[in-house]
């Protein structure tokens, strides 16, 4: 065998060598093709006098983006404008994922309800939402908001200083400062402390078999850090109240109709798919598990929460990952109803600079990168809930 592998002619007969050779050739071919395409494109662009390169990212953007989470002014660069677009995309996708998961879970369970009316309503919900293209729903939700609600000058004052109009929901807001951030961080710290306390108490109870009264400690853990922070940092409690100006409501915080329509559209459409995934997951858990849980004296709700759902998760997570990914990518439909996501900002950039190839490359890379991050996270979670064979 070794002698054969050494000689030149028979090397080709070596299966392992051949397998590697084919792969090397395939990879080399793809790389060459890629290089060729790249040089071809650059050459043609140069011949046609079309500007190339990413230098434009550091030039002044000169256009406004109306809803941004990060600080952005028109005097900032194109790079920062695109970053603001990315943050907007992530922001609306993240809220949609949360909303879609919660709604999907409840509708999925309702689909299996023994109450025929509830089961039928859930069935209608799922079929109505998953059988119509998302874009049409986006137009519908947006049109409902914009034509259904009164104009901003006739805004409807739901509660004192809370206005609802076709320009969105405007509420009073705190004038934010560093002190507020301190209190917020303290609140998060308190939450983390409470979780740690609770875990340790549970572990203790399992070990010793004795339950101690823990809730005063947990309450203290939640409340103490923010209370201290309030005392020390003394945040200013000034409130910015929205007022009717000549055209708009000025001041306060605003939930804009473009964001709302996109959030609702994405979340509802995805929730229909998620409901079906949840239903299939629950059905995949054998009847015997229900019966065993009942025999132990668990009620329906507890059976679902403690016995069925944890097992159903193994079936639910992989297709759920796909749902999240498509929701994330569907957020690019934002451009149809005027929400400034990554695609819209890139489009404006491309049209001002004329550099379409670079613009599209950026947003493809961003979508690819973020999608891979979602996949990696979900795969990690999947391996955590996967059946542990002991």
């Amino acid at each position: 065998m070794r002698a054969e592998a050494m000689s030149g002619t028979s090397l080709l007969y070596n299966l392992r060598f051949r397998a590697i050779l084919y792969q090397v050739i395939a990879v080399a071919g793809i790389v060459l093709l890629g290089l060729y395409l790249f040089s071809n494109v650059s050459q043609k662009l140069a011949e046609q006098n079309i500007a190339t390169g990413f230098g434009y990212l550091s030039r002044e953007a000169g256009f406004v983006i109306s809803q941004t989470l990060i600080d952005y002014k028109p005097t900032d660069t194109y790079g920062r404008a695109i970053l603001a677009g990315i943050v907007n995309t992530v922001w609306v996708s993240a809220w949609s994922v949360v909303l879609a998961t919660v709604i999907g879970l409840f509708v999925g369970i309702a689909r299996l309800s023994r109450n025929p009316l509830l089961a039928f309503l859930a069935f209608l919900y799922v079929e109505a939402l998953r059988n119509v293209p998302l874009l049409l729903y986006l137009f519908l939700w947006y049109a409902l908001i914009v034509t259904g609600l009164p104009g901003v000058r006739e805004a409807w004052e739901v509660m004192p200083h809370v206005f609802l109009s076709n320009s969105g929901l405007t509420v009073p807001s705190l004038v934010w400062s560093g002190a507020h951030t301190t209190v917020l961080l303290a609140l998060v710290l308190g939450g983390i402390l409470a979780v740690v306390f609770h875990r340790r108490a549970t572990a203790e109870r399992i070990r010793t078999g004795q339950a101690r009264t823990m809730w005063p400690w947990i309450a203290l853990a939640v409340l103490l850090p923010p209370a201290l922070a309030l005392l020390i940092a003394q945040p200013d409690l000034a409130v910015d109240l929205p007022e009717k100006g000549r055209f708009r409501l000025t001041g306060g915080a605003q939930l804009r109709p473009e964001f709302t329509a996109l959030l609702v559209g994405l979340a509802l459409s995805a929730s229909a798919g998620i409901a079906e995934i949840v239903r299939s997951g629950i059905l995949s858990v054998r009847k015997g598990q229900w019966e065993a849980a009942r025999a132990l004296g668990l009620r329906d709700g507890s059976t679902m929460r403690l016995v069925v759902l944890p097992q159903a998760l193994r079936v639910i997570i992989p297709p759920l990952t796909s749902s999240y990914l498509s929701l994330f990518k569907n957020s690019s439909l934002a451009i149809a109803i005027g929400y400034p996501d990554l695609v819209m900002v890139s489009n404006t950039t491309m049209n001002q600079t004329g550099q379409a190839i670079e613009g599209i490359a950026i947003f493809m890379l961003v979508y690819l990168g973020l999608s891979i991050m979602i996949s990696v996270f979900m795969n990690w979670y999947n391996s955590r809930v996967a059946l542990k064979e002991r």
Binding site: L45, I65, T147, G151, F247, R248, A336, G338
Partner: protein
């Protein structure tokens, strides 16, 4: 022994074939005129729906000011204004469509600007319409000028310089505003009509179209400010000087004909004119058409089938149309406007 070798060969061959196919695609050696003549028609990029500029009439025939520019070029080349295939393009893809050769002429209310001319591999023909960005607001808001629009929400379309012009206008005046940008022009108009925005902005010619679409146009007023210069000019690729000459002189023939008083109705009488410039223009004397690679009757054919600039303007945009635009700067230089054709000599 045979299999792996043939496998390698197959891989190599397919790779070469792939490369050859890719490199064959973006050819640009042949002149645009030859390509157009061989194809038998011009590919003309236009707006999908822009009343007055480019729209399909009730019989499905495309009409409008931008459309007539392509029809004039078609008449110059084929002695027939209708050898044109119209490609509706939205603002986002229009320049790529020219760069990639998908259209021969882009006649789509495009603004001629420095970066477009210098960095996109494009050439611009003569300005066919002097436009400027304006704003329109509902009359019930009682807005007298754009400077009053502090804190207002303004609806606009992406893919144009509109957003940048707005910023250039408001920043020095220290006015904050909210921009709501729509990809789709129906959504954009509806958001404005429904009061999501307090004002809408685009080129003034386009504002006239939006107003013409409204249920009651009298409820909307166009504000007096013109916040930018928007010289609209047909656009072509930068690699063909002859094609550029054909486009330029087709437009100049429209303007020149109006200067000389030549119209669709009287062009045949002008064939007997004693004016040497008219004789050269209409191909009675000289070989002007040949110099462009066209028939000597090229300009005659343009005027005969499309009319002169004034006729094209009045038919599509003028006071008697729904848009009801006046000539303004789009008047001949002899009448105080900006239109000026170089001499035919």
């Amino acid at each position: 022994m045979i299999q792996p070798k043939s496998m390698v060969r197959w891989l190599a061959m397919s790779l070469i074939a792939g490369v050859a196919a890719v490199s064959a695609a973006p050819a640009s050696a042949q002149s645009t005129l030859d390509t157009v003549k061989k194809r038998g028609k011009i590919l003309c990029g236009v707006s999908p729906v822009a009343p007055g500029f480019s729209y399909a009439d009730d019989k499905g025939v495309r009409r409008g000011f931008d459309v007539d520019i392509c029809r004039a070029v078609s008449a110059a080349i084929f002695a027939d204004p209708d050898k044109v295939e119209y490609v509706p393009l939205n603002t986002n893809v229009r320049f790529q469509a020219v760069q990639s050769g998908e259209v021969d002429i882009l006649s789509r209310q495009n603004t001629w600007s420095f970066t477009r001319d210098a960095s996109l591999g494009l050439d611009f023909g003569p300005v066919v319409f002097y436009d400027g960005q304006g704003l329109m607001a509902p009359s019930k808001l009682n807005v007298k000028s754009a400077g009053e629009l502090a804190d207002a929400a303004i609806c606009l379309l992406p893919g144009t310089t509109t957003l940048q012009n707005l910023e250039d206008f408001f920043r020095p005046r220290n006015i904050k505003y909210e921009s709501v940008v729509f990809e789709n022009s129906d959504e954009w108009r509806n958001a404005f009509f429904n009061g999501r925005c307090d004002a809408i902005t685009t080129d003034r010619s386009d504002l006239a179209s939006v107003r013409a679409i409204a249920n009651d146009p009298s409820q909307y007023v166009v504000l007096p400010e013109t916040i930018s210069k928007e010289p609209l000019a047909p656009t072509i690729r930068q690699n063909d000087p002859n094609w550029r000459d054909i486009l330029n002189w087709s437009v100049y023939a429209l303007i020149g004909a109006e200067e000389k008083g030549v119209t669709q109705a009287n062009v045949d009488e002008f064939l007997k004119s004693e004016d040497p410039e008219i004789q050269r223009m209409l191909g009675v004397n000289g070989d002007f058409g040949k110099m462009l690679g066209l028939d000597n009757k090229w300009a005659y054919n343009i005027v005969k089938s499309v009319g002169n600039y004034g006729e094209v303007f009045d038919r599509n945009l003028g006071p008697k149309t729904r848009l009801g635009l006046t000539r303004g700067p789009n008047e001949l230089w002899t009448k105080g406007g900006l239109l000026y054709a170089p001499p035919f000599r």
